[in-house]
């Protein structure tokens, strides 16, 4: 063995920032997370030039997957122009030379925090969701070792009990975002803090979704055509946010997840959360051209 077999020619920075060993570990763990949908796989999770909790898990996955042809879209709260989305998009382009886009349909890889775009993702697209807390059991069991045992035993009784207590107390399940969901009939997973509106988009989807928590060092996945079922009781059906009837004051689009914007007069205005969908709607309205793709929701309802 010589030093040269151990080393490589000097580079100011590896392609995509992460070195070979970090990428290989992520590749190995991504395969395992696809093989056992919804099951949290531990990984080393390297430090990246961004603070923990700011999308470092999603970023590591994106940096491992991209090549100079990968067209990347990054959104935060549904918006491409959100400051953190802009920062992550700029970083990926800077270290991997990837083209970027805001058009969901044009993207090969979409990294997102808290939303899934409204347009249907295709089988050639990968969705990378940033995850702050990968453990759906944390509210009932903060200790990770015990929670892991509960997953191993498929022991979700306390989870069900918590939902039941909410119904008794408040007449409904009070979970807002991050709605716990059963994947492939075996593992309860957090879909990341996406609204309830977005969870059905993961069920039997055409695209691959990878969820990665950098700070907590866990990665999991929902392959295409995989059952993702929100935990519900048969007599209390799953309810998405009541946004189906709302109209975006800026674009006029209706039937999608909205941001509520408090007004001076005490009322609320609404803006579509998927900012690029809003832009496309305005373009179509102004006669600049139709670029909108098919959406998951139709007339404010998820079909089936």
């Amino acid at each position: 063995m010589s030093l040269s077999t151990l080393t490589k020619p000097w580079e100011a920075m590896s392609y995509g920032f992460l070195d070979g060993s970090a990428k290989r570990e992520l590749r190995r763990k991504m395969l395992k997370s696809v093989a056992v949908p919804g099951c949290q796989m531990p990984y080393a999770s390297r430090e990246v030039p961004m603070a923990r909790g700011w999308g470092t898990g999603g970023l590591q996955v994106s940096l491992t997957l991209v090549n100079p042809q990968t067209r990347v879209k990054v959104i935060d709260q549904g918006a491409d122009d959100s400051v953190n989305a802009a920062s992550i998009r700029r970083f990926i382009a800077r270290v991997a030379g990837t083209p970027t886009t805001m058009d969901t349909l044009e993207a090969d890889l979409i990294q997102s925090r808290h939303r899934i775009p409204e347009e249907v993702l295709r089988e050639d697209q990968v969705l990378v969701l940033q995850v702050p807390n990968p453990e759906p059991l944390r509210p009932v069991q903060p200790n990770m070792s015990i929670a892991r045992q509960m997953h191993a035993d498929a022991d979700y009784g306390r989870m069900w009990l918590q939902l039941y207590e909410q119904i008794v107390r408040s007449g409904r399940v009070m979970q807002g975002a991050s709605y716990p969901s059963l994947v492939h009939g075996r593992h309860v997973m957090t879909p990341s803090p996406i609204p309830r509106w977005d969870v059905p988009k993961l069920h039997m989807a055409e695209h691959l979704t990878i969820l990665s928590a950098g700070r907590e060092k866990r990665i999991f996945a929902v392959p295409p055509y995989t059952r993702v079922e929100p935990l519900v009781f048969s007599d209390v059906p799953y309810k998405v946010e009541e946004h189906g009837h709302l109209t975006c004051t800026r674009s006029g689009t209706k039937g999608f997840f909205m941001n509520e914007v408090p007004q001076d007069d005490g009322s609320s205005a609404f803006e579509v959360s998927d900012s690029e969908w809003g832009v496309k709607t305005i373009r179509a309205r102004d006669g600049i051209g139709e670029s909108r793709g098919e959406t998951w929701y139709k007339d404010g309802e998820m079909p089936q």
């Binding site: 490589k8 909790g53 122009d81 400051v83 808290h114 702050p132 975002a177 991050s178």
Partner: protein, 352 residues
């Protein structure tokens, strides 16, 4: 197009970074040297928390972040993670440490002697305000001892083990590349011993102190006696691919052993870190001492203190709450309003 403000975000983040950097202004190697020379204990702390021993890089990180400690450590960790792991150095035994300071609170005197070394422990903490009046601060020169203490010292716990006062931890035969590396593997519980010690070595000083102090005040079962505290330099011995062993230099290290009565013998807690950082080592060793008997979910349980003293993770998560959360908030609002409406509807129902 009314909607498109898409470039606004990018411009805003760029300008906000400029605003931050404006305060430090331009800087060069000279400032880095000045930081390195004037603030060695801060450099030590940063190197320890970054788990990267390089005084120049640590000084650079401090200069570049204006002393924002969490940012400096993150900068170094992010740099460190891209570096190839070429070699694993030989293990270092306590008696091969070039020792500057070594004290034991357990005995009046110990084999090898108490060596006070450099410390502010007995200094009167009086601010040298004269300096602000233009008087320069010139510390009195050190007078060499007539009988210099030996640079290499045996460990106190070795003597205790010989005298059947404690059971030394079983020797771990794991070598070289097989030693688990926290930066390449996730921390899982029950934690591997190597991971525990590595995790404490790079823990955030304030975090370790807070939890260690909680244990000392009585939230832990064990009450620490400082068996031995050392500030030293360690020789980094590595093997060249041609088989020869050589020294890659010396690094400053600190370590602490704390003990407590455990049945008929002493229980021992240990911690070590890059750089000289006594508070961190004593606090970390106290946590280590307490962890075997800790209750699940208590502050002295390994999972609890290792997770919560990880400075890059905890500080990052703390500041992430500044990010917009309006989607999750909206989702909660929807559930709240619906629950309220249901309650109101129920109240309107006539009683049966």
């Amino acid at each position: 197009m009314a909607y498109v403000a898409t470039r606004g975000g990018e411009r805003a983040i760029e300008q906000s970074e400029r605003l931050f950097r404006e305060e430090m202004g331009s800087f060069d190697r000279e400032r880095v040297e000045e930081v390195k020379k004037g603030l060695p204990y801060l450099i030590d702390r940063v190197m320890g928390e970054a788990s990267l021993y390089d005084e120049d890089l640590a000084a650079l990180a401090l200069a570049q972040t204006g002393g924002e400690l969490y940012e400096a450590v993150l900068l170094l960790r992010a740099w460190r993670t891209t570096q190839p792991r070429l070699q694993v150095a030989e293990p270092i035994e306590q008696d091969s440490l070039f020792t500057h300071r070594r004290i034991s609170a357990a005995f009046k005197d110990i084999p090898g002697g108490q060596v006070l070394g450099p410390t502010l422990d007995y200094a009167h903490r009086i601010l040298a305000t004269d300096v602000l009046q233009g008087v320069s601060y010139a510390p009195d020169p050190v007078e060499p001892a007539t009988n210099p203490s030996p640079a290499y010292q045996p460990s106190v716990s070795a003597w205790q083990a010989e005298n059947d006062l404690l059971d030394s931890p079983a020797e771990d035969p794991t070598k070289g590349n097989d030693i688990p590396d926290l930066t390449r593997e996730p921390l899982l519980f029950p934690s591997k011993r190597a991971h525990t010690l590595q995790s404490l070595a790079r823990a955030e000083t304030g975090g370790v102190l807070a939890l260690g102090y909680a244990a000392m005040r009585g939230y832990g079962q064990a009450h620490p006696t400082v068996n031995e505290l050392r500030l030293a330099e360690a020789e980094i011995a590595v093997t060249h691919p041609d088989g020869r062993q050589f020294s890659a230099g010396r690094v400053k290290v600190s370590q602490a052993e704390v003990v407590d009565k455990k049945g008929e013998k002493l229980g021992i807690g240990f911690a070590a870190t890059f750089g000289w950082n006594e508070v961190k080592c004593i606090a970390a060793a106290t946590l280590d001492l307490n962890s075997p008997s800790a209750e699940k979910g208590s502050a002295t349980e390994e999972e609890f203190f290792l997770y919560h003293t990880e400075g890059v993770e905890s500080s990052g998560f703390c500041i992430h709450f500044k990010l917009p959360h309006y989607v999750t908030f909206q989702s909660s609002l929807d559930a709240m309003r619906d629950a309220k409406a249901k309650k109101a509807a129920k109240a309107r129902e006539p009683a049966e």
